[in-house]
Symmetry: C2
Amino acid sequence: MGKEKKLVEAITSMEEDFAQWYTDVVKKAELIDYSSIKGCMILKPDGYAIWENIQKELDGRFKETGVENVYMPLFIPESLLNKEKDHVEGFAPEVAWVTHGGTNPLQERLCVRPTSETLFCDFYSNLIQSYRDLPKLYNQWCSVVRWEKETRPFLRSREFLWQEGHTAHATAEEAKERTLQMLHVYADFCEETLAIPVVRGKKTDKEKFAGAEATYTIEALMHDGKALQSGTSHNFGDGFAKAFDIQYTDRDNQLKYVHQTSWGMTTRLIGAIIMVHGDDSGLALPPAIAPTQVMVIPIQQHKEGVLEKAQSVRQTLAEQGIRVKLDDSEKSPGWKFSEQEMRGIPIRVEIGPKDIAAGQCVLVRRDTREKTTVSIDGLGQTIKTLLDAIQSDMYARAKAHRDAHIYDAHDYEEFTEIVQNKPGFIRGMWCGGQACEDKIKEDFAATARCMPFDDQERIAKTCVCCKKPAHKLIYWGKAY
Amino acid sequence: MGKEKKLVEAITSMEEDFAQWYTDVVKKAELIDYSSIKGCMILKPDGYAIWENIQKELDGRFKETGVENVYMPLFIPESLLNKEKDHVEGFAPEVAWVTHGGTNPLQERLCVRPTSETLFCDFYSNLIQSYRDLPKLYNQWCSVVRWEKETRPFLRSREFLWQEGHTAHATAEEAKERTLQMLHVYADFCEETLAIPVVRGKKTDKEKFAGAEATYTIEALMHDGKALQSGTSHNFGDGFAKAFDIQYTDRDNQLKYVHQTSWGMTTRLIGAIIMVHGDDSGLALPPAIAPTQVMVIPIQQHKEGVLEKAQSVRQTLAEQGIRVKLDDSEKSPGWKFSEQEMRGIPIRVEIGPKDIAAGQCVLVRRDTREKTTVSIDGLGQTIKTLLDAIQSDMYARAKAHRDAHIYDAHDYEEFTEIVQNKPGFIRGMWCGGQACEDKIKEDFAATARCMPFDDQERIAKTCVCCKKPAHKLIYWGKAY
């Protein structure tokens, strides 16, 4: 075989070893490759195309709320990073430092941005003068670097792609509204576009962002019962404004500090898609985000007219705005089927001589494997309807799985039993003390994922950990 | 005024001081702001939106030729950068070095990518096994860093945004074809979308890319008669393949080296737009790339019905796919006009009580200042026609200006006279010797911009510099 490509190999089963299954899928579905720098991955065409679709959809949702895109420098001078105390303590231990430009040592070290609050604040302190300059609703799409020790593709890498929104407002009220508005944009995007149900809520002080007054989060549940923080939105109040002197002259001619927010989503969402929708055949992509929605696979393609018909089907579907490809390679149909399944393409169209004679073709859903024979006439509409059904069925199944893995714990014994045996979210009351969070983390490596907005049912009167009076319901879980 | 915003200030005239005019425009048209890191700029909403439009249009043109997007790491290990000798010599003096991750020194220094040939080669050496894996046609959109000493917004900055395409092919012939194909994609894009005429040609060996076998270029002429290299496409032959051991098994079962290309365009194009189309009122954007194509400005907006009508005009135009905004701020119409002109918005719509009574409005072209009174009925179509006319007129004017600034030099005396007195391209024959290039650079700071494809007219039989026999026509010029 020389340096020939190897055959598609089976992937590890999810039940056997979920972590290995995940690693197999990211590689074999050709989403990423490893680079020669530990913890930095290469996004291959399918992986990057999913990110492009995420970008396009999210960016449109941002712009509808008045957000504008900008681009800030990659580097942050050390003195600028140091301006806000909590922020620098949170990030300095994990930044990459540039010390030389060409052969010359720099006068001041520059860190490669781990996030750009400090750059935006420096920018805003010059840009904002008057109440007429507010609000500022800026976002950027870029990569950031955090020098993590343990890395996993998409979930935790030393460099990752993301967007970071940074807004400045005249009042505390407006900043809080924007923080929540963007959290709901994120949540709706996850549910509608990625078919991933999320819990919307607020982080505890222990879990909030370095320098924030409050952090809001959306938390998704992976197939293995672990939580994944999928997007966060931070209300900074006027803390950064005071550290960076961002003041404006109000209508009453008084100088006032602005109130700020920031919010971000990352390529980690691709990890969520894999772990929510994937199965033992590989990736399964929601149609709204799939780079290829339909793969046309000819059967007996050397027989007269088969390839021509397959090409014309592909062409017709493409003209109707469906993202469709034709696999006319020399591989066997069986091989093509498993490649299409591995790559998570939502629908395959099988078309052979008999189908053509009958004016039909076979549609196979990636999510359920369900096969239907349908007429080639009106195929575009049939497929659009089926793509919509797949999208909503994938959401419904993910939600049913998530809901079936939420457990209530009324005391520590019950909590222990659940956390050790039933992967999922655990609803438990909390006294508000960090000692309880610390204990639960120490005992079980579980954390307070969030205090949900919609669901503050008081399932008990006392803290699940210390038995002191408790008023807050928490979703606890083990997290990526 | 407290910290109130200052009035719009006049910009320096182009004729008086072109460099200062340029700096004034980039700031006052709100394209960029300076950051606290020397040589790194902030792209503000209008500056970034122009880049987004460039991206969208170019990306579509790439994908039509089969190109796929990927994303490679930001960092290059020093040992990887060192693998191709000419390449490392070209770039090592101007890279930024990361030496620490958090508090720990790194085992090996990492450079922040100045370009990603070495990363793509490393990737391809693992990815490409068989002739069936070829060609690979990958591109990425990212930022790169080059630690330049002298910097100017868009034209030369320490960090800039760009795309870099990297392809691998089975044969030398295919690689050459792709190199030229992408150069023509760039040239067509500049002429059709940016309304900037370019000279297409080949670089001399002295001017080619570090590590390339041949570099092709498109050269544009700025308003001040200086050249701007606007896009380059490199044929690497199998030089990088040999350095990085990128081999494939061909149909004949022999191991062969691939042949590679790379090609890039950057945010420097925004500098070209400014310096080709701008004037003493500021920026002038070609409609195809303008973030806002039309600004609606109400006159006497407090009179009954004016603002409502202006809003409905904006709405109607937006629904027809025109990028339109309404300036309903409290500023005077005169102020709004000069802001719209400064920002280069191609058309303004003036609409006041008398216009409304007559069912009319006034259109003013940014490029020519021409005013026409037109019916509000069918305004969308009128404006679309006018946008097309502006686009082609801007190209025609830029081409006439460029053509009027191309001079022929038959000997060194004539060359000297032109280069010292007539800013523009100088056509002159060249013997092929680097000594002549060096002398011209030393004497006049002029360089061989390219050997044009279309125009190899032999305007003399001897080299414009040394009088030896010469067969190559060169476009010489002073360049940014």
